[in-house]
Each structure stands twice: as C-alpha cells, then as structure tokens.
C-alpha cells in the first residue's frame, strides 16, 4: 500500500473518489489498551487523520497530591502506571528525596535496583504479550502472563499486594525482603532466562508478525525528540538515551558500578544481539518492529541487572533503614526528577512550602507524550495498522489520564 501514498500521504486514492468516513474506535475497544478513544478519518481503508480523545480515566491525582503528604500519595502513583507500579513508587520517592537531600542506605539502593528491574521485566512481558494480542495472536499473551505471574508472586511476598504495591517509599522501602526471597528470585531467573529465546521465536521472527510491524508507523529521530517521546519509543527511533545512564545523579548513582549497555541500534546492530534473531530486511529504524525489539532486548538487560543487584544486595550487611516519617516536613523549594520507567521517562515535580503537605505535586507522564505523536504515525496507514501502531507505543491509560 506504500506506493499509493508516496508524496503527500493525505492525498489518497486520487483515482477512485470515495467518500470520507469518520470511524470511531474505542473507548471500549480491546486493542486501545484501556479507555482510549480514537476518531479516524478514513477514505476507504486508508486513514488520513487520527484524533485521540483521552481523559476517561482522569482522577486528578495531582489535586489529591496537594492534600496528602508525599508518603500518603505513594498509593496514587501505583494507580498511574499500574503495570509498573514499583517504578512509579521509586520515581516519586526519589523526587521527594531529591528535595529533602536525603540519601538512602546502600542496601536500600541495591534493593531498589533489584525491585525496579523486576518491575520492568513484568511490564515488558505484558507489553510483549498484549502486542501479540493486538495483532491477533493469542498464545504469546499466555506465555508472557505465565512468567509475569511468578514475578507478581515474588512481589506479593515483599509487600502483600500483587499490582499496586506501595513498596518502595520515601527513605527506602516499607520492609526488607523476607527470608528465602532471594533464592526464589534466583530460581525464577534460572527458569526464565532460557525462555526468552522462545518468545523471540513466537513473535520476533514470525513472518506474519514482521509483515504487520516492519516499516509500519515509522517515527523519525527528530520527530521523536520534538514530541518528547521517551523510553523504548525513543530508543527504537535510534536515539541513544537512557536515564539510567544519562539522568540526574540521584538516579544514576543507584546504578553506579552496574554493567549494562543502553539498548539502541548502532551501525545496524543492537548490543549483544548476536544471541537473538537478526533484524529482518524489511524493518526500518523507528518502526513498530524496532520498538518491540528494543523491549525484548531490555528484558535480557533487566535479567542481567537483577542478577547483579542480588549479588550486591546480599553482600550488604546491616539493616535496610527505616523509611521517613509519614508527616516529615518538606523544605521550601521545588524539585523535578525523571526516572526511566518501562514506558519511558516518568517525571515528578514537587513544590514544598515548609509543611508536610506539598504545595504542588505534578506527574509528567511518559505515555502521554508517546501517545501525542500517534496522529503523525497513522497518517496514510491502513485501518488495520492502527492497532499495530498504538500497541507498539505500549501505553497505559492510567498513566496518561492520571
């Protein structure tokens, strides 16, 4: 279909004059990942314009944040990106710690890396499984959820919750890991690692999958930066940026001494990609396939980081340290911090006025910016490709609407 739309993709099907039609997709559409409503302006099968309507899950979490202390607001951060709640807890906790110039103990630091990377693993598994579901294949979803279930079991042992944890908190974590947890985590990783190749064979090189995703929804590097895209969406477009390496010192110092490479294509190769299927000929940097592949390689990277974190954590002696008091006074001033969440750079902004309750709490959502580029990606694509593009952005509506 690409040859029909060579110049201006909006001038479409100029030989056959057909009527334009507005097609409503969502908000209860299974492949819009929650309650997202898209209005497609179509001409035959070709989409000329996409408009997203969001806000169906809006709870004004920021207003609530102005009425609670930072530690009380932690459960609300859970409910933003509910597929990576641990990472959201961490982002907010670090922002508060940045304002208070507080440093957690070394043991808590390694615990946080361990938990955050495990959270990333769980989130990318959903991303992969749900993406398969968007494209009409059911089995990868089941395989992905089978493994994710084991991660949730591990999380349940740490804090009792399976989805909205509130585990990492201001000043460390609510509790130390229970005895025997590390062995269970180790066993999980040993069992999980060989399965990664299986996932690749399910989707990555599957001919149908490649046909549905390669060269679909190409996002150029310049456009990605202009729209403030981040995370795998940005790296899939070939921008070498990962806040775990490039971010602010309070965040990057967590990863001091850890060995990892940012997953981004350089000279046609991804780091350590020899073990995995090669990039198919049809794929172009910035397309849906690359965004998916970056996530898949980050799974391997996270497994690696978890192993390193477990070693460092168990080498730390002494207590974890108590989290800060729930009504600890905030200093006057403001602090903004972005962390690398599975879906991109999640930013929190906190303004303190000397009382325990922030004057302003702000959440900058990564999916929000990632979704705002959708109308550029969908211009001139087929209706059937819209779910393939939306899925490749891996959005969570709870985070967009807040």
């Amino acid at each position: 279909m690409a040859q029909m739309v060579d110049d201006d993709p909006r001038i479409i099907e100029f030989d056959v004059r057909t009527d334009e039609m507005l097609v409503n997709m969502g908000p209860q559409h299974p492949s819009t990942h929650g309650v997202l409503r898209l209005v497609l302006r179509t001409d035959g099968e070709i989409v000329s314009q996409v408009e997203s309507h969001i806000g169906y899950l809006h709870r004004c979490a920021e207003k609530i944040g102005e009425n609670l202390t930072p530690r009380q607001w932690i459960p609300y951060t859970d409910r933003m990106d509910y597929l990576a709640a641990m990472n959201m807890n961490l982002g907010w906790s670090l922002t508060v710690e940045k304002l208070m110039r507080y440093q957690v103990s070394e043991k808590a630091r390694h615990l946080r890396v361990l938990i955050a990377e495990l959270g990333r693993l769980a989130s990318h598994l959903v991303g992969m499984g749900a993406y398969g579901l968007d494209l009409g294949t059911f089995s990868p979803f089941l395989y992905a959820f089978r493994e994710r279930e084991k991660i949730l079991d591990l999380f349940e042992e740490t804090c009792g919750a399976r989805l909205t944890y509130s585990y990492l908190t201001v000043g460390g974590a609510t509790a130390d890991l229970p005895p025997g947890w590390l062995e269970k985590c180790e066993a999980f990783l040993d069992q999980f690692t060989p399965l990664i190749a299986e996932y690749h064979s399910l989707l990555t090189t599957n001919a149908i999958f490649v046909k549905r995703t390669a060269a679909i929804g190409i996002l150029s590097e310049a456009l990605a930066i202009d729209y403030g895209c981040s995370g795998p969406v940005l790296r899939g477009s070939g921008v070498d940026q990962d806040l775990r390496r490039d971010g602010e010192s309070i965040y990057t110092s967590m990863y001091d001494g850890y060995a990892f490479e940012v997953v981004v294509q350089k000279n046609g190769h991804y780091p350590r990609d020899h073990a995995y299927p090669p990039v198919p000929r049809e794929a172009v940097v910035g397309d849906s396939w690359h965004r998916f592949y970056v996530r898949m390689l980050e799974v391997v990277q996270s497994v690696d980081l978890i192993r390193q974190a477990m070693d460092r954590y168990s080498a730390c002696r002494g207590p974890l340290g108590e989290p800060l008091k729930i009504n600890e006074k905030l200093p006057v001033g403001d602090a903004y911090l972005e962390t690398e969440c599975p879906r991109g750079q999640m930013g929190f902004y906190l303004v303190g006025d000397g009382t325990p309750i922030p004057w302003r709490a702000r959440a900058r959502s990564s999916s929000f910016s990632n979704l705002s580029v959708l109308h550029e990606l969908c211009r001139g694509c087929l209706i059937a490709d819209v779910p393939a593009i939306v899925g490749s952005l891996d959005i969570v509506m709870g985070e967009i609407d807040r």
Binding site: G55, Y349, G354, R360, R364
Partner: protein, 176 residues
C-alpha cells in the same frame, strides 16, 4: 558551557527577557518575562551551546492567597507560576524556565491569564498546554487547538486552582 557564562550569553542576546535566575537551586532556573517566553524558548532550542531540543513538562502552580494562619509567614502575593522543564538530548543537560502570571487577567475573576504558546518551538507543547489550560486555566496565545483534554468539554472550572470547588452534580451524576 556551564551555568554562569551561559546565562551571560543569554542575557546579552535576549536583552530584557531574563529577569532573574538561581543557578544554585536544586534545579537551576531562569525567570523570564511572560510575554517573551516563546522567544526565549526558541533561542534555547536553537543556540548551539544548549540545544534544549526537548520540552519535558509544563506546570502551572497556583500561589493562592494563603489562609489566615499562615499569612504572616509567607511572602508571596497571589499569582500563577508557570514552570517549563527542558532537556537537551545532545548535551544531556536540563534547565528550568519560570515565569509569573496574574491569577486572572486584569484581576477580573473568570478572565484567564494569557501567555504565548510554545507549540511552534516544541510540538510536545500542544498536549501539555491543553492540559494546563484544562486543569489550571491558562490561555495560551497562538495554540492551534486549545480545548480541554482530560476533563469533558463541558466541564466548568479549573480543578487545579486552589479556590476550585467541585460541582454538586454533573449531568445528573452526584459529584460530591
């Protein structure tokens, strides 16, 4: 290029636009004249030393009249503070722009304060400005499509204003 020399260059190339700064703060910031925010943004994006090519976040802070108990302690007069967080993917550095607006234009309650839009500089500003308009009630001059984004289009009021009161009902649904 580090903070102070960069600030000097900015002040000399944009005379009168930068009216304050704090490079010692947790996040170093500059304060600009609200009317010239778009011009300063364009400069920050294009200047080879900075290349702040990515807008991360726009926040409006409502510095509302403090309650009587706290009034003695605080120094601010009621106003809105706009905060722009920028990031450079080239230099991997960040900067914060702050600017002040009145709570209402001409102090007439209901008249939204105005500020030039930066959608022409960073396209991500499109949705972010719509969100700030929606929740904090700031009018962005020159925004191509300034509509509510998170609240329904017929919602009344700006929830993140400090004096906002939740309506009693919305289309027959009890709201509080």
């Amino acid at each position: 290029m580090r903070g102070s020399s960069f600030l000097e260059k900015a002040s000399s190339e944009l005379p009168g636009a930068i009216i304050g700064s704090n490079l010692e703060a947790i996040d170093p910031w500059i304060e600009v004249v609200a009317e010239r925010i778009a011009e300063v943004s364009q400069w920050l994006k294009k200047t080879p030393e900075s290349l702040f090519d990515s807008l991360e976040c726009i926040t409006a802070i409502d510095w509302f009249e403090p309650d009587a108990k706290k009034a003695a302690k605080v120094q601010w007069k009621p106003h809105i503070e706009m905060v722009y967080h920028l990031w450079s993917t080239v230099a991997r550095a960040s900067i914060v722009i702050k600017t002040n607006l009145p709570r209402w234009k001409g102090d007439v309650v209901g008249q939204l304060p105005e500020i030039p839009s930066v959608t022409g500089v960073w396209r991500t500003a499109d949705w972010h400005e719509r969100e700030v308009f929606d929740l904090s009630g700031i009018f962005f001059i020159g925004h191509p499509d300034l509509r509510r984004i998170l609240c329904p289009e017929d919602w009344v009021g700006y929830p993140l204003r400090r004096d906002y009161e939740m309506p009693l009902e919305y289309h027959g649904i009890r709201a509080r």
